[in-house]
């Protein structure tokens, strides 16, 4: 590596790497334990840092040796405290006690297999024998073997003091004893545990040595800081610090933030557009009477025009207590023979009970009807974003409930041409459309009626909405004598494109991850 490459490497050096590198003299190898002592690191950090240094070609493993370390097992610790089973038996015999194997098991609290193996060993060494009645008795041979039993006790002490002790540091006979008691009794009952430990020694590569030289040459910075702390600022110690460069290519951790719902963000955009165009917001109830949802809109009670959509009926109560007058009477007259609207009417007997039937609001126009009846401003412009319900099987294109964006414009100078002008304005403002097509359409409550088709920048030609001038049969009974534009926009498709979804039900998704991550592309 060139010096500049090494310099660059040094920029992003981790403090741990510094510490490891600085524990080397220029020559010679260092064992891991030496590095631990010199650097003050613990083993896991040394492993980490030496790994990094090796991958950067700065450090080599020179030598790998294995050390066997001895420690006491649980049984070993117990024997250290109470004595080995053999010594406990020998000591008891020396004290002149009389007992059987059964007595040992029952009253000394020792494991039967432990007792039988201890008694077995002593018998084999001719240190004890069993006389009549199963009673144990010491023999002359005991004196000969006693030192070897006592030495186990000493060994236990020795190991426990040096724990974990290097097996190689014990004299040959003790090593043999340790190994015998490690092997002979098996892992569970063994009194010594031998674990193997790899010990490495490291040398610096030529690049490593050069880098060390560079570090020493630079000399000034003895400590690299990972973060600026309030203390550093208070005490001015930051002046002597070098701040390690970060790897900024890493992914940041995820954050949970507060956020508007993406569909609501879309609807807010629409809402602010309407305020900008001078529209006042209107609201209405979710549960409507057929009167406000349909009759007031001159949809005849027993005519196919009413079948345009099917509705959800309310179970309890099934009917509104009353229809607000004089609207009930006037609307009934408009249906029957036109009343005072200049119309022939639908020529049937209007059923007031049917009008009272409660339903879930099926169209946003119900809100417009209520506004007309409430003494609206003239001239006036109103809009609503109203939740509506249709009796349709729910699937990817039919939601159980959905928003309709609807409204009215009232004024003495409202006519067909201003209707087209308003729709053009909507197309420009809301769909950013440059091209328009107006097509004849049918709505039971408007005449003339028109459909607005626009060329959306992404969707191509699409139907943006329907509109018309409210029939006099609608406005007059509700007390409005000027022409009124009624309009409705179909924005769900635009919303779905802005959200990048195919299933309309996803507009009201319950999946928090989905809601958190969906972005909205607003064609502002």
């Amino acid at each position: 590596m060139t010096t500049s490459e090494l310099q660059k490497l040094l920029e992003s050096f981790h403090p741990l790497e510094h510490k490891v590198l600085l524990s080397f003299d220029r020559e010679g190898a260092l064992s891991a334990s030496d590095i631990l002592t010199r650097s003050g690191l613990d083993e896991s950090r040394l492993d980490m840092a030496s790994g990094w240094l090796q991958s950067k070609g700065l450090l080599d493993v020179k030598d790998e040796s294995v050390t066997s370390l001895v420690s006491l097992t649980e049984a070993g610790k117990e024997y250290l405290q109470k004595g080995t089973p053999e010594m406990r038996i020998i000591n008891a015999l020396k004290e002149g006690k009389q007992f059987t194997v059964k007595d040992i098991i029952q009253s000394w609290g020792m494991d039967p297999s432990e007792v039988s193996s201890a008694v077995g060993a002593l018998k084999e060494d001719n240190a004890v024998r069993i006389v009549q009645g199963g009673v144990l008795e010491d023999t002359i041979g005991l004196v000969l073997v006693l030192p070897s039993y006592e030495s186990i006790g000493k060994l236990l002490r020795a190991v426990s003091e040096g724990e974990p002790a290097d097996l190689a540091s014990f004299p040959a006979d003790q090593r043999a004893a340790i190994q015998a008691n490690f092997h002979k009794r098996g892992k569970s009952k063994g009194i010594f545990r031998i674990t193997e430990k790899k010990n490495r020694s490291y040398t610096l590569t030529d690049d490593g040595k050069e880098l060390l030289r560079l570090i020493k040459e630079r000399g000034v910075v003895t400590e690299e800081a990972s973060a600026l702390t309030p203390e550093m600022l208070k005490q001015g110690t930051w002046k002597n610090k070098k701040f390690r460069a970060y790897n900024i290519a890493l992914n940041p951790p995820r954050q949970s933030i507060g956020r508007k719902h993406p569909y609501k963000e879309f609807l807010d955009f629409v809402k602010y557009k309407f305020i900008g165009m001078g529209f006042e917001e209107m609201r209405g109830p979710l549960v409507e009477s057929e009167f406000w949802d349909m009759d007031a809109l001159f949809m005849p009670q027993f005519h196919p025009a009413r079948n345009i959509h099917d509705v959800y009926f309310v179970k309890n109560p099934i009917a509104a207590k009353e229809i607000e007058e004089p609207f009930g009477k006037r609307v009934a007259a408009a249906h029957k023979d036109g009343g005072k609207t200049g119309s022939t009417g639908w020529r049937y007997a209007f059923d007031l009970d049917r009008a009272k039937r409660l339903i879930l609001r099926s169209q946003g126009t119900a809100v417009s009807a209520r506004t007309l009846a409430s003494g609206p401003k003239i001239p006036g412009k109103y809009f609503s974003i109203a939740r509506c319900f249709r009796y349709d099987a729910v699937d990817a294109t039919h939601a159980p409930d959905f928003y309709q964006v609807e409204g009215i414009v009232l004024g003495a100078y409202i006519n067909f041409k201003t209707l087209l002008g308003l729709l053009k304005l909507f197309g420009q403002e809301i769909a950013k459309a440059g091209e328009f097509q107006f097509r004849p359409a049918y709505f039971p409550f408007t005449e003339p009626s028109v459909e607005l088709h626009v060329k959306h920048p992404e969707l191509g030609w699409m139907e943006l909405g329907g509109a018309g001038i409210f029939r006099p049969e609608v406005t007059k009974p509700l007390g409005v004598d000027v022409p009124v534009i009624a309009w409705g926009l179909g924005l769900d498709r635009m919303a779905m494109v802005a959200l990048g979804i195919q299933d309309i039900r996803d507009l009201f998704s319950r999946d928090l991850d989905f809601v958190r991550t969906k972005k909205i592309q607003l064609n502002k």
Binding site: R254, S256, I257, G258, R259, K260, K264, D268, I275, E281, R283, P285, L286, V287, E288, P304, A305, N307, Y312, V314, K315, A320, K321, T341, G342, S343, T344, R347, Y348, P379, R387, V394, P400, D401, V409, G411, I414, F416, K417, T418, L420, K424, F438, R439, P440, Y442, P444, E447, P448, S449, I469, R471, P472, E473, R510, D511, L512, D513, V515, R516
Partner: protein, 565 residues
């Protein structure tokens, strides 16, 4: 609204001119129709009609007529409505029909040049009129018969369901009326219309041969129109006289357009009708209107000439005379949708073409604004988003199961009567259950969860005119291993502080919350809502394995307090 199939060559033949597809698409606007599809190999057009009030357009003949008149600029005159001769054929209505299916209208068409196209259109037209205009045959149904097999007079009367029998169309054997309702596909489909009555309607000729069992099925013997049929009886029965007559007129005009000779049939009623007791059908029910030119100018937003109005209305099918600043319009006999002068203003605009009108931007100046409730909601939404809450939007129509365990004693829900699916059978009465729905499916979304929704709910209220009221509620919910009352309380506290609402919490019990860890939110003696740690039973039922705390307040209530302050 109906979508109909037409062979393009048939349509061209009826129009009298071969139209390019693009010209056809443009002309279809005259009929408020849209070309959905054209398959060149089979010459099939699929056309969607949008005007439910113009059933005359739901056939090849009807669409062709509207275009043909526009091309010629002249309305077509249907002379057969002026009966030169007295009707020789008679249908006698029995008294009992009045309470079952009171009206019948009929005429004959002869010299029909029958072919596959004619037959197809005849069947389709019959079907669309009865299904959509006739509301699945309830208000109007149609029968067409081989005229030469009928011996007049024909009786329209009631018969015993189990005694009268005939071979219905599509079957090989004689069935009684009752058996038809049980076994014939049409009987199964439409039987509901007659079942409430002890006796069923039939048409029987003087020889005792059954023509049909209206509105269910024709007899195979008389009521089957074949490719070789030349002369037919057209009959319409219904519950509304005007709709019955209009349906007959539409069919009659279509046969006439195809070159048939039309003759009237006299119907004798034992009860009076709007048109008398003895009526020779078809009857021209067309309305006559006198409309000042000013109505057109004002409605359209530009000054139009009287001659122009006359010309445009004529080329839309009306018979028009113009004099002294007004037009006198006689509506075509196949239309019954002109109720107000504004309908004629629209006809003028369609006839002239919507694209010939220059859009005028509305100039009136008005002040845009949000309702105070929406403003409050937006303020709160902004606040909660700033406090790290994710906004949620939920369906309002949901299942009872989702709401049941959050109902307080005595609390009721607004329920749907005609339930289609239990999943969508009640309106939510509060928002927290919607937030729990989110938690139920979002255990994989990394924690903490801090969510809220400001949304509408329907509150059952026996005293309200509508039996319920719509409220705007705000609910917030937190969920993570340490989610608790105190953290939720902090969020509520800081929210109400910035809204300027002083409040206190009153210990209380709630179906949603762990007893002893729930409070009513009281502001100026009004109950705004409640707060607490969600009961583990509720969480377990929804398989939510994370503690949740939540609060919900009424924004209508909050607004009332803010206005008072």
């Amino acid at each position: 609204m109906p979508t109909i199939d037409i062979k393009k060559h048939d349509l061209d033949g009826l129009i009298g001119k071969k139209l390019s597809l693009s010209a056809l698409e443009k002309h279809l606007m005259l009929a408020k129709a849209e070309l959905k599809e054209y398959i060149e190999e089979t010459d099939d057009l699929k056309v969607e009609l949008s005007d439910s009030n113009r059933p005359d357009l739901w056939s090849a003949e009807g669409i062709a007529r509207q275009i043909r008149i526009a091309l010629s600029g002249k309305p077509e005159v249907y002379d057969f409505f002026k009966h030169g001769r007295k009707a020789t054929r008679e249908i006698r209505v029995s008294k009992a029909m009045k309470s079952v299916r009171p009206y019948i209208a009929a005429c004959t068409a002869s010299g029909i040049r029958m072919n596959d196209d004619v037959l197809t259109q005849m069947i389709q037209s019959q079907d669309k009129l009865a299904e959509i205009f006739g509301r699945k045959r309830t208000t109007v149904s149609i029968g067409i018969y081989e005229l030469d097999r009928i011996m007049f007079p024909v009786d329209y009367r009631l018969a015993e369901p189990s005694s009268l029998s005939f071979i219905p169309l599509g079957m090989e054997e004689k069935l009684t009326l009752a058996e038809i309702l049980e076994r014939h596909p049409k009987g199964i489909a439409y039987g509901g219309i007659v079942k409430p009555f002890p006796q069923y309607p039939v048409l029987i000729d003087s020889m005792g041969h059954v023509l049909s069992f209206p509105p269910i099925i024709n007899s195979r013997e008389i009521g089957e129109v074949k490719p070789q049929t030349r002369n037919v009886l057209i009959e319409v029965t219904g519950t509304d006289l005007r709709m019955t007559m209009l349906t007959l007129n539409i069919l009659a005009v279509s046969f006439y357009d195809r070159g048939a000779e039309l003759e009237p049939v006299k119907v004798t009623y034992p009860y009076s009708t709007e048109f008398g007791k003895v009526v020779a059908f078809p009857v021209n029910t067309a309305g006559k209107f006198k409309v000042p030119l000013a109505t057109f100018s004002a409605g359209l937003g530009e000054n139009v000439a009287l001659t122009d109005v006359k010309k445009r209305l004529e080329s839309y099918g009306h018979i028009v005379s113009a004099a002294r600043g007004q037009v006198a319009v006689t509506v075509a006999p196949y239309r019954d949708d002109i109720m107000h002068p504004m309908d004629l203003v629209e006809d003028y605009a369609i006839s002239r073409g919507y694209d010939s009108f220059e859009p005028v931007m509305p100039q009136q100046s008005t002040v845009g604004s949000l309702s105070r409730l929406e403003l409050l909601s937006d303020t709160i939404r902004g606040h909660l988003v700033g406090s790290g809450f994710q906004e949620i939007m939920s369906n309002i129509l949901c299942s009872r199961e989702e709401l049941e365990d959050s109902l307080q004693p005595g609390e009721q829900l607004v329920e749907v009567d005609n339930v289609m699916s239990l999943a969508y059978s009640v309106l939510r009465h509060r928002v927290i259950p919607s937030l729990l729905n989110v938690e139920a499916v979002s255990s994989k979304a990394f924690y903490p969860h801090r969510i809220f929704e400001a949304g509408e709910v329907a509150v059952f209220d026996q005293s309200a005119i509508m039996g319920s009221r719509t409220d705007l509620n705000l609910a917030a919910l937190i969920s993570h291993p340490g989610a608790n009352f105190s953290e939720m309380h902090s969020s509520l506290d800081v929210l109400l502080y910035y809204l300027g609402l002083e409040y206190k919490l009153e210990p209380s019990g709630h179906a949603l919350f762990i007893p002893g860890r729930c409070g009513k939110i009281i502001a100026a003696d009004a109950e705004l809502g409640f707060i607490g740690e969600v009961r583990p039973e509720l969480l377990e039922r929804r398989q939510i394995a994370m503690p949740c705390a939540a609060f919900e307040i009424t924004l209508n209530g909050a607004l009332r307090l803010l206005i008072k302050n």
